[in-house]
Symmetry: C2
Subunit: 222 residues, 2 copies
Amino acid sequence: MLTMGLERLVLVAPRFFPHPEASALASGATRVLDAARVVATLDEALADCIFTVGFSARPREFAGHVVPVRAAARKVLTQATAGEVALVFGTEMSGLSNVELARCTMVATIPANAAYGSLNLAAAVQVASYELRVMALGDAVWEAPRFPLATSGEIEALYAHAARTMTAMRFLNPQMPKRLLPRLRRLFARAGLEKEEVNILRGILTRVDALMDAQGPSGAER
Amino acid sequence: MLTMGLERLVLVAPRFFPHPEASALASGATRVLDAARVVATLDEALADCIFTVGFSARPREFAGHVVPVRAAARKVLTQATAGEVALVFGTEMSGLSNVELARCTMVATIPANAAYGSLNLAAAVQVASYELRVMALGDAVWEAPRFPLATSGEIEALYAHAARTMTAMRFLNPQMPKRLLPRLRRLFARAGLEKEEVNILRGILTRVDALMDAQGPSGAER
């Protein structure tokens, strides 16, 4: 829950709570457990809610309005502007009963492998919380630092340098260039060259130039 | 993995494998473990792949192309038509190293609470597998059985019946109907009445009619 920014947990008639194992597994997120509200019945948990979504992995005859979790997340967010909402999960062993599910406004389910469809409770809560977060906040994620991009002028100077050096190396025949330079252009255009990368590539070319100069006419350029 | 239809697991230098605890936790999905390929290095695991996505919760300086898991799932599916692809996850404790991440074509991350952003390995795999499944197969889910819907004629007969009974009950004044009938129409239109529900509602009205008949002129209809 906390990884997805959810902090309000209500436990209905837990067999063991608080429990040292739960606290240990919560590694660093114990404040969600510490603040958990414990109630005796599902009705008590949902009393103030205007919209509740029960999760069920298996088909139920009277489930009414069943939607995939992504659509449920959209609806929950809409309704959350009007009052309290809740996601409702059953026990690890048997999920929500039909009676409990009938207490919910909407039934949601997680698209899964029909041959092995039952997610662990924790896994189901993770997926549902994730969908809520993406629906609420979009899927902005951390970005790697941006480094300054090379200009066209810098990139053309690189290609000109590369053409000279490869010609001197006899790797490129300027009379029959074939597809070598276009392929290199395609590769680097796809990557999007940064200034520093152009400098590194030109440094490599300059080093090759120096090697050939040192070899003199007996070298590659003879 | 199996809940989302994924079956090909490769383990890189596992400390313990096979392990009875892993088999116990896999409850019913042991064939994924049984078929798991064990290799000594990440390079060996990825050798035949044309596209690999490494997952990282934390920003990395040289991560290059970082995308949210939903966009990564789209890209993985596109590339899967051209060759082998892989999702790459690090250890529970420390994730992928920078060197391991640099082996991957793309870096993906799961949008999470910046203040508590690190999902368990199992939770991250669940979310990533779920996104792959929804991207590949859509989010078709089980549906509750459809019962035959009532026709307009049946529904209008219900409202006419309701208007007669409520008038007889002196709950509705046909000269000043106010908003009662429009509100009932709105409620039932939103629900979408089924044939059997119309029959139930008309049964209730008929029962009320009978009660009033039995009471005679001293009853509500006097």
